[in-house]
């Protein structure tokens, strides 16, 4: 403890003022700048995607502002605190999910929302952070690589909330949450034999899952993936239109606010899940590549933080959060470009939506907390 206090003093004494301010607030400057840039780009795209109506973008800007505050707050907690509280986070999250099943608000046949007064939020979003924290906490207290019993324990931690979310049903979120937990397990050194076995098991399980595990609309989405032209006006409409939007954007794009697919409402969900098609149509391939570059820079920074983390907990958590972030991006763009089935995954920091942004930024806050921790020990 004394060591840490000393490092803190040395730090504030040896660096210039702005840096010291960011250090005092546990802010990772490169990450913050990248996130601010991404948010600004996202708002610009959203403004166009909502047909030039300021209301949506303004509302989203408020959400982003709140999210940044949450991020700074999350960065203030020490990693010890996250570990200490992980059990409570976990049970609290699971309780919320149970509450959703009983009191949740529905939309399109799925109950995903909890209404608290004027405030509506999606508890499954919170679990996106809670699950990796819980799994990382669980694993870093045991010797690694994990034994069979430990693996089963970690899987059990992942399985409970995932099962609850599948019940809502919200397959996309469930898969992402499972992935975030699995990333922690994988990074902790889950042996390749196990990974190979799991992959094999998954392939064997495809047939029973297809027959009994999926709902009709989910099956339809997967069929649509392989044959999008079969039912253009029905289930294939979204993908047909999003591909037309992206493809017609070409290399240069049609110009900001000039996308015919998005501005004339041919592209459905253009301000939420399919927003990347708006970017692709209006800014062309160059625009999407720049966005992708921005995402990759953020991911690179996340990986750097995970590499430099002092404690294993920080490594696992930073790695898991970063990889999950990439999975969001990959699944979203993959689905909009028609190489993955349509699952409800928003494009991080660009798609319209409140809870998702707040959760994401809280995750980056945790990354910053990890970065802060590692900086202290290096001095």
């Amino acid at each position: 403890m004394a060591n840490r206090d000393y490092a803190g003093q040395g730090e504030s004494g040896s660096l210039r003022r702005p840096a010291s301010l960011s250090r005092r607030w546990h802010i990772d400057m490169p990450l913050l700048l990248l996130l601010l840039l991404l948010s600004a780009v996202g708002l610009g795209i959203l403004y166009s995607a909502s047909g030039g109506e300021l209301a949506h973008a303004r509302r989203q800007a408020v959400f982003i502002g709140v999210a940044f505050v949450v991020m700074v707050a999350a960065a203030q907690l020490s990693l010890e605190a996250y570990q200490r509280w992980s059990l409570w986070f976990y049970f609290g999250g699971c309780c919320l999910l149970v509450a959703v099943l009983f009191f949740g608000d529905g939309a399109k046949g799925a109950q995903r929302w909890l209404q608290l007064g004027n405030f509506r939020f999606q508890p499954s979003e919170v679990l996106k952070l809670v699950v990796p924290i819980a799994v990382a906490t669980y694993l870093c207290r045991r010797s690694l690589p994990p034994s069979f019993a430990v693996i089963l324990g970690a899987l059990a931690i992942i399985a409970l909330p995932v099962a609850l979310i599948v019940r809502q049903p919200d397959l996309g979120t469930a898969i992402l949450i499972a992935a975030s937990g699995m990333f922690a397990l994988y990074l902790a050194g889950l042996s390749w034999k196990w990974l190979g076995g799991a992959l094999l098991g998954l392939m064997v399980a495809i047939w029973p899952i297809w027959n009994w595990g999926l709902r009709d609309y989910q099956r339809q989405r997967i069929l649509t993936l392989f044959n999008p032209d079969a039912d253009r006006l029905g289930s294939g409409w979204n993908i047909f239109q999003s591909k037309a939007a992206i493809g017609s954007g070409g290399l240069q794009g049609k110009g900001y606010m000039q996308g015919t697919q998005s501005q004339l409402d041919f592209l459905p969900e253009s301000d939420t899940d399919f927003i990347v098609a708006v970017l692709a149509e209006e800014w062309g391939l160059w625009g999407v590549l720049l966005l992708l570059l921005l995402y990759l820079l953020i991911i690179a920074r996340g990986i750097y933080i995970s590499f430099t983390a002092r404690q294993l907990f920080g490594c696992l958590l930073a790695g898991s959060i970063t990889l999950t972030f990439f999975v969001y991006v990959f699944v979203n763009i993959g689905m909009v470009t028609g190489i993955l089935p349509v699952v409800g995954v928003p494009l991080p920091l660009v798609s319209r939506g409140g809870t998702a942004v707040v959760t994401l930024m809280a995750g980056f806050g945790i990354l910053m907390a990890i970065a802060t921790e590692s900086r202290r020990t290096h001095f």
């Binding site: 010797s143 690694l144 990333f183 990074l187 939007a245 070409g250 015919t260 041919f266 993959g334």
Partner: protein, 627 residues
């Protein structure tokens, strides 16, 4: 010790983590590569095809329907108009829940079950993304209500269009006809070109001139490229090719004459056709009772249709064009001409008429309507409608000659009038009887066909053409309703010239004049109180045969079995202008019931200021003779 162990573990764990993270990093780069490859494939490799797709999405080629040609009578009265009308249409492809949309619409506009039923019938016939009409003739208020609720009604639109309107209603139902919605059968018969021409048009001529001149009236469809949003709302017009309106028709018909005929007929069933002798132009074309053609334009309701279809008066039946009636004695002047020309009779031929006629070696009595005396010549036979004179002529002449002259005057063949679905009537011949009945021609048959009975059938139109040909001294013009198309006059078409000596024409003219003007004439009512002379011939045709020796008793017969009254006439005798055929169903007396109708036609027509159309007909005639 414990620290050391921990440190070692920490080191292994860290190495393990870094290995895993590096593998993951490779995975991230590979997956990002997949995305880039996919985007490259969509945006660069397949750019053209997606560009086309998105243009096809937003740019739609919309047909711009042409304005249907207007129809006027000879004096410029509008007979078929186009009126603006607002139609509620639905694009099925843009509606998710059709029932919900229909329920909502039912709250906003008056929507009857029949509207919905017909909409459901039209639905499977549509082309993709074609708006299918649900309600026609929306009121201002209904349009406003739909406008306010537009956001709740994707795929629903109010379309302004022109709808055919017939201001004279029943008056011209059987000549002008009507348009109606293109039905499945008509659509099936469309070829590629038709599909293009009708792409913006929903109605087609069904009956009458509207059908006969469909190709000209329709016009040429225009097109426009419009940008629409996903809900089908048109945002702007990118390119436009204007439609060409349909041809304007001016008819020979005269609305006032038509009305005069109707007034003269009163509520009697029948048909009247009046023809301009000089050109074959049809001046009046009446079939009574008629119907309001406006009922059919946007689709007649089943109740209305059933009422028309099941009425015993058959208002939908075009009696003038399709009604084949025994012409009775109205064909006697024509046959007399034939007999004179063939030398079977001459001006001095007389017979004795005891009130009946007997064929040699036959005890059967062929009745006359009265005994006409001992010295009946052709003139008296025509004036008094003496049957025995014609029995005698027919017996001596035989069927071949009678069939020949009847054919020359157009009986038994379609007149070729510019109206669809004409019936040919029938004037029997030996060949016909052998084919249709499998029987040889009997001498008694001659006596039937000479009186326009038995198997003889003619439409009122044919009788009018026959009369006009007599009035014209043999010039047989094709009857025409349309006088000019887009201002260009349609030439009169001389079909052929019946060659008969002038003295024979004079004799028959004299006879027909006597029918109207002689004290014993049978059609005096046709010329009553007119300042010009009318020539005509009455006819009374039996519908049921009367037993040998029995008398015709009007009261004992069912009203619909009573004789038909006929009258054919032309006027003025010295310079014939107009020929008329009148048929009154179950009217019983041609001279008593039909002749007065003819008189009204003449009175009305001859009160018109004369047109200077004689010159043109003269030149055309000469041209025809030369050819």
């Amino acid at each position: 010790m414990s620290d050391n162990l921990h440190f070692k573990d920490h080191f292994t764990e860290r190495r393990l983590f870094r290995n895993r993270m590096l593998v993951a990093l490779v995975g991230v780069i590979a997956m990002a590569g997949v995305l880039v490859a996919r985007l490259y494939n969509l945006q660069v490799v397949n750019y053209d095809s997606y560009r086309t797709q998105s243009d096809e999405n937003r740019i739609q080629v919309r047909p711009v329907p042409p304005t249907r040609g207007l129809i006027y009578d000879r004096y410029g009265a509008l007979l078929a108009d186009n009126r603006p009308s607002y139609t509620l249409s639905l694009v099925r492809e843009r509606i998710n829940d059709l029932n919900a949309t229909l329920e909502l619409l039912a709250e906003l506009v008056r929507l009857e079950d029949s509207d919905v039923n017909k909409f459901n019938k039209r639905l499977p016939q549509r082309r993709p993304f074609e708006p299918v009409p649900l309600r026609f003739r929306l009121s201002e208020e209904e349009i406003a209500r739909i406008g306010v609720n537009e956001f709740r009604l994707p795929g629903v639109s109010v379309e302004a269009g022109l709808v055919r309107y017939y201001p004279h209603k029943e008056l011209l139902a059987h000549s002008v006809g009507y348009v109606g919605r293109i039905n499945a059968r008509e659509q099936k018969d469309f070829n590629e070109e038709d599909i293009r021409r009708y792409s913006g048009t929903q109605s087609i001529g069904k009956v009458g001139l509207e059908r006969a001149y469909e190709k000209l009236l329709l016009g040429e469809v225009g097109f426009e490229n419009v940008e629409t949003n996903a809900r089908g709302r048109v945002l702007r017009v990118l390119e436009r090719q204007d439609p060409k309106p349909g041809a304007e028709l001016v008819l020979h018909l005269d609305v006032d004459l038509q009305q005069a005929v109707l007034d003269a007929l009163g509520d009697q069933r029948g048909a009247v056709v009046a023809i301009d002798v000089q050109t074959g132009g049809v001046l009046a074309f009446v079939s009574q009772p008629a119907f309001d053609p406006n009922l059919f334009v946007t689709g007649i309701s089943f109740d209305n249709y059933r009422a028309l279809r099941d009425s015993p008066d058959k208002p939908l039946f075009n009696r003038a064009l399709q009604g084949q009636y025994p012409p009775g004695s109205t064909i006697k002047p024509m046959l007399a001409l034939g007999g004179l020309a063939a030398g079977v009779i001459d001006a001095n031929t007389t017979i004795r008429d005891p009130g009946y006629y007997r064929l040699p070696n036959d005890r059967h009595k062929y009745r006359d309507w009265k005994a006409h005396g001992n010295q009946v010549d052709v003139l008296q036979a025509l004036i008094e409608s003496c049957d025995v004179y014609f029995y005698d002529m027919a017996h001596r002449w035989g069927i071949d000659g009678m069939h020949d002259i009847a054919s020359r005057f157009g009986l038994g063949t379609k007149t070729g009038i510019d109206l669809p679905v004409e019936r040919p009537g029938l004037y029997p011949s030996r060949e016909w009887k052998r084919g249709a009945r499998g029987l040889p021609w009997f001498p008694g048959d001659n006596l039937n066909v000479v009186l326009g009975q038995g198997d003889v059938l003619a439409t009122p139109l044919q009788l009018a053409v026959m009369t006009a040909t007599i009035a014209n001294r043999g010039k047989h013009y094709k009857p025409q309703i349309v006088k000019s198309i887009n201002g260009s006059e349609q030439p009169a078409e001389l079909l052929h010239q019946v060659e008969v000596k002038k003295e024979h024409w004079d004799l028959v003219f004299e006879g027909m004049e006597g029918v109207v003007n002689h004290p014993r004439g049978t059609g005096k009512k046709a010329g009553a109180e007119l300042d010009f002379k009318v020539a005509g011939k009455s006819g009374t045709a039996q519908l049921v045969s009367i037993a040998q020796g029995a008398k015709y008793d009007s009261k004992a017969l069912h009203e619909r079995h009573r004789d038909n009254a006929l009258f054919v006439a032309f006027a003025p005798v010295d310079n014939p202008q107009i020929a008329v055929a009148v048929l009154v169903e179950n009217g019983e007396g041609g001279g008593r019931v039909a002749a007065p109708v003819a008189r009204e036609v003449f009175a009305e027509w001859m009160s018109r200021p004369r047109e200077n159309s004689v010159d043109t007909t003269e030149t055309e005639l000469r041209a025809d003779v030369d050819g």
